[in-house]
């Protein structure tokens, strides 16, 4: 980068912008400080809650927050604030907001911002910055946070001119939530928040370099419909894009019309009912036999709001080797990024899927097809159903009275039962995350919240807090690990202080289980630094931080423990002593072919 010539950037360009000039008509009633402008702008955006942590550079902002009427949740670490904003956004579909001070406050947001970026979550992060005269001098708590977050934000801003502040906030929210969503950071020097100016919030955004596409080529949709009619072994592969665009109903309708079996990425779970006979499960490294076989054997793969991550595709050359691939996505940069695509359908899924449905409802199509593909897809549906019934996800039940050998899969199934399948399930990262994906029957959209692209341990607890804040009437169940929980366990205080009734199941295997599993399979069982020795007492930890704590050591007591947890009002941590050396199966070794799974037979 140092080899790149720096352009001679003229200052003052922004002030000449006609859009700003006409907005800044002085109006004495709207004179206020920059900090107050932030509050007003947040209200104008309909923000109901912000997650944050104060510090020197944001003191003026916090002063304005004090009697603003805006709900602020004090997390106990800025990482918690970023993840909570992310969890809130995923659970509600609204923009999550977090605030941190300059320097270490800002850098503490970084993992959370990267996490939101990888999973396309709309978050607006505000950071304080040292005052303008101190900028660029390695001042106390100065860090170049816009530089640091350049590759992990959809866009970021540093506001050096008070006049631009309202418009910048407007643009940030607009960019965060439109198109392919993502995190946007606004860095505000302290003196900007202290200076007074005239406030006027723009009604519209006009960015000539940012015009998210909605509609694409209708010919591409028609071509997709034709391929669907022709296909004999089609598969619908859904992902997080379906959640983001709220198009789960279209997916159901497409399946009703065509009878195409459905597989899902981790991020797509819940967008199609997990108990539907045509749902084959998750695809990829820890996908089901049926889903992975269906993708390997299909003649048409319809990827919808997916990005063909390596955890999904395994060996690229052997991914869907016999299939034409149709890719529906809003982001043209996703087309052909990882896999070859035969028919790209670029556009908002709200447009492309309804256009596809129109084609499919067309007489010509109906004439050659029947509801749920009856007749035409009979053979294919039989095949996938056979895969599904012959090789389901299974595990061997443990002795109900044996100590510390509860089967984790069983705990997930029991969580499903006590919550009637209606919980908002949030996870951390590791084996427990995969079991939660596999063994909870996900039936509702926006109700499986997990760190997909970044795989961030420590995400779960703050994300669950954000989800609970966003969906106060619902049961939020966090599935965490003994490793992951400790990465942000300070947020137990936040949960108890806010009286958020989050249920927290710690899958305590005394290992960094996923690491141990890889060491078992690929490193000759050399468990290098993956053993946690069980020295942490999660019940005492919960109690020390103001939560309820329960411990369940035998399979026989799992149900009672969960029922007890459900009956408690505040946050509760349940320490489940699970079988330490249980593995997540089936498994496609990294870079292997999806058709070659290990451990998908009930008896090994």
């Amino acid at each position: 980068m140092s080899a790149v010539p720096e352009v001679n950037v003229r200052s003052g360009v922004e002030e000449r912008d006609p859009a700003t000039v006409c907005q800044e008509v002085p109006n004495p009633s709207t004179r206020m400080t920059g900090a107050q402008m932030v509050i007003e702008a947040l209200k104008a955006e309909g923000v109901e809650v912000v997650f944050g942590y104060p510090g020197g550079a944001v003191l003026p902002l916090y002063d304005a927050l004090y009697d603003s009427g805006l709900r602020h949740i004090l997390t106990r670490h800025e990482a918690g604030a970023a993840h909570a904003a992310d969890g809130y956004a995923r659970a509600t579909g609204r923009v999550g907001v977090c605030i941190a001070t300059s320097g270490p406050g800002a850098t503490n947001l970084v993992t959370g911002i990267a996490n939101a970026y990888m999973d396309s979550v709309p978050v607006v992060a505000f950071t304080g910055q040292v005052a303008l005269p101190l900028l660029g001098r390695d001042s106390f708590q100065e860090v170049d946070i816009t530089g640091i977050t350049l590759p992990i934000t959809k866009h970021n801003f540093i506001v050096k001119d008070l006049q631009r502040l309202p418009r910048t906030i407007k643009e940030a929210f607009y960019i965060a939530r439109t198109g392919r969503p993502g995190p946007v950071l606004i860095d505000i020097p302290k003196d900007i928040t202290q200076t007074e100016g005239y406030y006027r919030y723009p009604k519209e955004v006009s960015l000539r370099g940012y015009r998210p596409i909605f509609e694409g080529s209708i010919e591409a949709v028609e071509q997709a419909a034709e391929e669907i009619v022709r296909a004999r072994r089609p598969v619908l592969f859904i992902g997080g894009g379906v959640t983001i665009s709220n198009t789960w109903n279209s997916i159901r309708e497409i399946v009703e019309l065509t009878g195409i079996p459905v597989v899902s990425s981790l991020m797509g779970l819940g967008n199609f009912p997990g108990d539907d006979p045509l749902f084959l499960g998750m695809v990829g490294m820890h996908g089901t036999y049926a889903a992975n076989m269906a993708v390997s054997e299909c003649d048409l793969l319809l990827g919808i709001g997916v990005r063909f991550d390596d955890r999904v595709t395994g060996k690229i050359d052997e991914f869907a080797p016999n299939a034409k691939i149709i890719h529906f996505d809003i982001d043209p940069a996703e087309i052909g990024k990882n896999v070859r695509v035969d028919v790209p359908v670029v556009g908002d899924l709200r447009w492309s899927l309804s256009a596809l449905l129109e084609c499919l409802k067309d007489d010509d199509f109906v004439a050659c097809d029947h509801r749920r593909g009856r007749g035409r897809l009979d053979e294919w549906q039989e095949t996938v159903t056979r895969w599904k019934t012959e090789r389901p996800l299974t595990y061997r039940q443990s002795d109900p009275d044996a100590e510390c050998s509860i089967k984790p899969q069983y705990v997930i199934e029991e969580i499903y039962r006590v919550t009637d399948g209606n919980a908002v399930v949030v996870t951390d990262v590791g084996q427990h995350q995969m079991w939660a994906a596999q063994y909870y029957t996900h039936k509702r959209p926006r109700s499986f919240i997990t760190s997909g692209g970044l795989g961030t341990m420590g995400y779960g607890l703050p994300a669950a807090i954000g989800a609970q804040v966003g969906r106060p009437g619902e049961v939020v169940f966090l599935v965490s690990g003994d490793g992951s929980l400790l990465m942000n366990c300070q947020e137990l205080v936040t949960a108890s202080e806010q009286r958020l009734p989050v249920k927290i199941a710690v899958f305590n295997n005394m290992y960094l289980g996923m690491v141990r599993q890889w060491q078992e399979f690929f490193f000759g069982k050399r468990y290098s630094h993956s053993c946690l020795n069980g020295s942490a007492d999660y019940v005492k930890l919960a109690e020390a931080l103001g939560c309820n704590g329960l411990r369940v050591t035998k399979a026989r007591d799992v149900r009672a423990g969960l029922e007890r947890a459900m009956s408690l009002n505040g946050p509760v941590v349940i320490d489940f002593r699970i079988c330490p050396e249980e593995n997540v199966l089936p498994m496609v070794p990294a870079g292997g072919s999806l058709a070659k799974m290990m451990g998908c037979f009930p008896e090994g």
Binding site: V4, P5, V7, R16, T146, L150, G209, D331, I335
Partner: protein, 169 residues
């Protein structure tokens, strides 16, 4: 279609602080092979034009274009690879020129229609603008005289005819 070739892109961006960092950061992060990058002001005060020369196949070019297109500060990307464009680069070359060899260097400079912009008893600074191949050819000959220092701007490009890149489709 999938063989590696050289592509030229004209990227019009907002003239804002940090915009070059956004572009160059993205290119290096995504491991695109950049032959040259040249940036400067344009006929519009708030627009900077960046000329990128990228090596890769059609797929790479598609990725570069769509990834750059996602940057909020990028206003327009025009593919300038076709023959209907004027490509130029400027080079400043400091070459060792003791009295006895000066004349022959001056002859070469004249043949290439380059210019001498600084004269010293031990060296000359030559200014040469043209297509890269022409600059390369000059350098190849001057090599034998001893090139002390070299600075090149990287390619800049305009399409022929009246239509500007910002209006191209």
């Amino acid at each position: 279609m999938n063989s590696e070739t050289i592509h030229t892109l004209a990227v019009l961006v907002e003239n804002r602080p940090g915009v070059l960092a956004r572009i160059s950061g993205l290119l290096s992060r995504r491991a695109f092979n950049i032959e040259s990058i040249a940036a400067g002001p344009t006929e519009e005060p708030d627009v900077t034009r960046i000329t990128l020369v990228v090596r890769g196949n059609e797929d790479t070019l598609g990725q570069v274009t769509s990834q750059l297109g996602k940057l909020v500060d990028v206003i327009k990307i025009a593919d300038m690879t076709s023959g209907n464009c004027v490509h130029r680069e400027l080079a400043l070359i400091k070459v060792a020129a003791p009295e006895e060899r000066r004349r022959s260097i001056i002859d070469i400079v004249e043949i290439f229609r380059a210019k001498i912009v600084d004269v010293h008893k031990e060296a000359l600074v030559i200014e040469m603008s043209g297509e890269e191949t022409k600059i390369d050819a000059l350098l190849d000959i001057l090599k034998d005289y001893g090139i002390i220092e070299l600075a090149r701007t990287g390619r800049i490009t305009l399409g022929r005819g009246p239509v500007p890149a910002k209006a191209s489709t």
